[in-house]
């Protein structure tokens, strides 16, 4: 069983090597990339089933002793995130075949390496390996952004690379400080240390700061709406499903294990979460392209997940994990809708769009479902997710949090209605009438499928909720995870 843990890391890396060896066989290349990703989804589902009874599969690569081995482990949270990310990668690969992004030679190998880094970051149990795997994920993203962008990509690419490099430097410094203070970088050996050793809490704070930058939490969010909208929409969809989510996952894991959910930090986390929610959603009002609106909403939605973490009860953690999983799918669906719009109309600037609902009703369906789910309307998965977060906040009795969360949902809805009203209703602009809109199944299928997931997660969200409950229990009581990973 635990040997399967190597597949999400090694599979896509091997696929990338094969892809580099096949420069000209486009169809074969697509099949290799899709197969590698499908294998990761399959492994993710197997891991989800295996971890459902509290077992934690652990793999020490090469059977080295625990201190020197590269240790991979899966608990329900890791397994869920690997599965959901791989689903997004699969959707993006299909969409890239539709838009022609994958005709660039570097696209498929780079996205394979990027996804391998992300899966590895979810599975690793060691902060230094987490740093390495985050780098494995980020380096291809620099190239993908520079490769695929439209006008302004050089400037946005520089902002993105500089921010990421600064984040990585801070992260490495934090890991070094933590090693200096505690003499270990293994998560299992660090469990609860921040509550005993104040210096370890400070060093952990440096690590968390780095991940807050990578996860685009307010006030460190400014790079995301600058950099993301410049890349091609499929690449943005890929980034949205993987990059910032790894930062968020690391914050959840480190806060739960290293700090043991120390209540002394709750006010700080709640403040950051609320600020992210409000500032992200307000930023989306003032911008004029689909990708920019969606990028600002990423900042806002990350706030909801962090809110669930900040309250740190069983209900709120389960809500945060459910929210994270459904939001990754919904956000990718929305960005892929933007990709379809950009591919058919040549732009996603709202002022040059109109009449999409009549010209491509299936796209309108996909966007409508995903947008309503993002805003949190019943019966979609987003409603269930927001309801769970609100119920958890209600249990704690925090009225400020409740009010802000409801108001931010309302503004999110308004923002989605704005895109709908401008881009999907209204007149088809004259410039667009001459363009022959060709939307094949490869383009429309991924957003429809992901939107369908968002719809199904509402009425049929039970299994995911069960996984989220298990994952939350594992975060509240990390003893089982710690015992399995440390091998003691």
């Amino acid at each position: 069983m635990s040997i399967l843990l190597i597949v999400p890391v090694a599979g896509p890396l091997l696929a990338a090597a094969v892809l580099l060896a096949l420069p000209d066989r486009l169809l074969l290349r697509r099949v290799v990339a899709l197969l590698a990703t499908a294998a990761v989804i399959a492994v993710g589902v197997v891991l989800l089933v295996a971890t459902s009874d509290g077992e934690v599969p652990v793999l020490r690569v090469g059977d080295w002793p625990p201190v020197v081995a590269i240790t991979l482990a899966a608990d329900p949270l890791s397994a869920l995130l690997v599965t959901v990310s791989a689903m997004v990668v699969l959707a993006c690969l299909v969409a890239a075949a539709g838009t022609g992004d994958d005709r660039k030679r570097a696209f498929l190998p780079l996205s394979m390496v990027l996804s391998a880094g992300a899966y590895g970051a979810y599975l690793t149990t060691d902060l230094f390996n987490l740093f390495v795997l985050v780098e494995v994920m980020l380096v291809p993203s620099y190239v993908l952004l520079a490769l695929s962008g439209g006008p302004g990509r050089a400037g946005a690419g520089r902002v993105y690379i500089a921010t990421s490099l600064l984040g990585s430097t801070i992260l490495l410094a934090g890991v070094g400080l933590l090693y200096g203070v505690t003499g270990t970088v293994g998560l299992a050996d660090l469990a609860g240390r921040a509550r005993e050793v104040p210096a370890a809490a400070a060093a952990g704070g440096v690590v968390l700061l780095a991940f807050a930058l990578k996860g685009a939490l307010v006030p460190l969010h400014d790079w995301l709406p600058r950099a993301y909208p410049v890349a091609s929409p499929v690449v943005v969809a890929l980034f949205s499903g993987l990059l910032t989510k790894v930062g968020l996952y690391a914050i959840i894991r480190i806060y739960a294990v290293l700090y043991g959910g120390d209540p002394a930090y709750h006010p700080l986390l709640v403040a950051v979460a609320l600020a992210s929610m409000v500032i992200g959603v307000l930023g989306a009002i003032g911008v004029g392209s689909m990708r920019k609106v969606l990028a600002f909403h990423m900042v806002s939605q990350i706030g909801y997940v962090l809110l669930g973490l900040a309250l740190f009860t069983a209900a709120s953690l389960a809500a945060a994990i459910f929210y994270l999983a459904q939001y990754v799918l919904v956000k990718a669906a929305l960005f892929l809708c933007a990709a379809v719009v950009a591919a058919t109309r040549g732009t996603d600037r709202l002022s040059r769009l109109g009449g999409l609902a009549s010209s491509s009703p299936l796209l309108a369906l996909a966007f409508g479902v995903a947008a309503l789910s993002l805003a949190g309307l019943p019966p979609f998965g987003g409603f269930l997710a927001k309801f769970l977060v609100l119920r958890a906040a209600n249990e704690v009795g925090d009225w400020l949090v409740l009010t802000v969360a409801v108001l931010v949902s309302l503004v999110t809805l308004l923002s989605m209605l704005k895109i709908w009203g401008v881009a999907f209703w209204g007149e088809v602009p004259r410039a667009a009438r001459e363009r022959t809109a060709r939307t094949g199944l490869a383009l429309l299928g991924p957003p429809l499928a992901l939107g369908g997931c968002a719809l199904l997660l509402g009425p049929l969200g039970g299994p995911l909720l069960q996984v989220a409950d298990d994952a939350a229990a594992g975060l509240l009581e990390p003893a089982g995870y710690v015992r399995a990973v440390s091998g003691r």
């Binding site: 230094f128 390495v132 990509r153 050089a154 490099l165 430097t169 400080l177 090693y179 600058r226 410049v230």
Partner: protein, 107 residues
């Protein structure tokens, strides 16, 4: 005492370069910051002189783990530095461009 001093000087110089205009200074700033973090990692394992950490080195052997960290970090920093310089060269070859807005396009 030398460890904190070296880290401090390198970080100060790196941050100073990052805050100056110009792409090459940005790259050099990150190189210096990378060096600072490497010294910090080395200091995390202890800076005083000890036996080499080979078989039978005993209790007084140096800590090999931070050195392994640094090796990995150097490789990563080197690769990214080369990529940044390549981007810089590409921009330079295209000649002087009009100044870009904050994200390179109209809002």
């Amino acid at each position: 005492m030398s460890g904190p001093l070296i880290v401090g000087v390198l970080v100060a110089a790196g941050v100073f370069l990052l805050l100056r205009p110009g792409q090459l200074r940005l790259v050099l700033g990150f190189v210096l910051l990378g060096h600072a973090v490497n010294v910090l990692l080395l200091a995390a394992g202890g800076l005083h002189r000890r036996e080499p950490p080979v078989d039978g080195g005993g209790a007084e052997s140096a800590d090999p783990l931070p050195q392994a960290f640094i090796l990995t970090a150097i490789v990563i920093t080197f690769g990214i530095t080369v990529y940044l310089l390549r981007l810089l060269r590409r921009a330079a070859r295209r000649g002087s461009r009009p100044p870009e807005t904050w994200d390179g396009g109209p809002r």
